[in-house]
Symmetry: C2
Subunit: 172 residues, 2 copies
């Protein structure tokens, strides 16, 4: 079974980003706007509850935090993806690293850059057009992150929820 | 903000039901196959964590259980919905009742009948055609229910996860 781990920004941010994703992201109908913490991975169904316990332990170690999306950026030429960049991404990188330690090591040629995808799999021309127009706009968005979610993928490609994990309240 | 509460059957059941929903359910792309525990309701965002705590308390009181989908049925003439009926629906009714007690009383003219929708908003002719053909098939499906989920609706109609609540393990 395929799983993935992600956080969702608050609803108001999702609604804004969806207005762009609808046009520019072919995954628009498969999953709401999210920041990936762990990319799609294969895990036998009978191992998921053990993994969930480890994720629960991680959540209890980490405090809730707030992130700011401060500019539009892209991954070209690595991939034709446009995204909202995160000003203070350290707590997301920390969560990502803790989560990676739970599972089989993944050999990735790329550093983990937390991001909120606006568009992907675009042609080069479209990427440059859309980036050129979006980078002029002011995206001063902020969102509280106080939970993350383990998701699984259905046969039709849609991601459904397996379990949510609450971070410690910041006031604790 | 609009919220709803639902359980999802295991992935294999969702994949089977989706093969029908794709044709017969206009909500196919808004939410995966589910059994509604509480219909869409309005709740101010600042009240959701208080509600989540109460739902957590309910989850801790209830044991995980297994349900069987044993036949195709419909709600005609009340609504043009075709669904998989549940043989042993008592634990779902119990969950529903406990959840209803948490929120403002809802005045519904209908009894709660837990069901897994296959198709809805069909024309009368289509309903009869599809029901006639599906009721001949053998749907002996079973699924473990060991959690339920609080969902919220985005502006585009898609339901996203707010939080999951784990029932007590049956072995406890």
């Amino acid at each position: 079974m395929y799983f993935g781990i992600a956080v969702f920004p608050q609803k108001s941010v999702q609604d804004i980003i969806n207005s762009y994703r609808k046009r520019y992201d072919p995954h628009y109908s498969l999953i709401p706007p999210h920041i990936t913490l762990k990319e799609k991975f294969d895990l036998p169904e009978e191992k998921v509850d053990e993994a969930a316990e480890k994720l629960e332990a991680i959540a209890k170690q980490c405090k809730a935090f707030t992130i700011k999306f401060h500019k539009v950026s892209h991954f070209h030429p690595t991939s034709n993806t446009i995204y909202l960049a995160i000003e203070n991404s350290e707590p997301l990188v920390e969560l990502h690293n803790k989560i990676e330690d739970v599972f089989e090591p993944v050999d990735s040629p790329y550093d983990y850059i937390p991001h909120l995808t606006i568009g992907q799999k675009m042609s080069e021309d479209e990427l440059h057009d859309v980036y050129g127009s979006l980078r002029m706009r002011n995206f001063e968005l902020e969102t509280k992150i106080d939970r993350f979610h383990l998701l699984y993928q259905l046969e039709n490609g849609v991601w459904n929820i397996y379990q949510s994990f609450l971070l410690r309240r910041s006031s604790n």
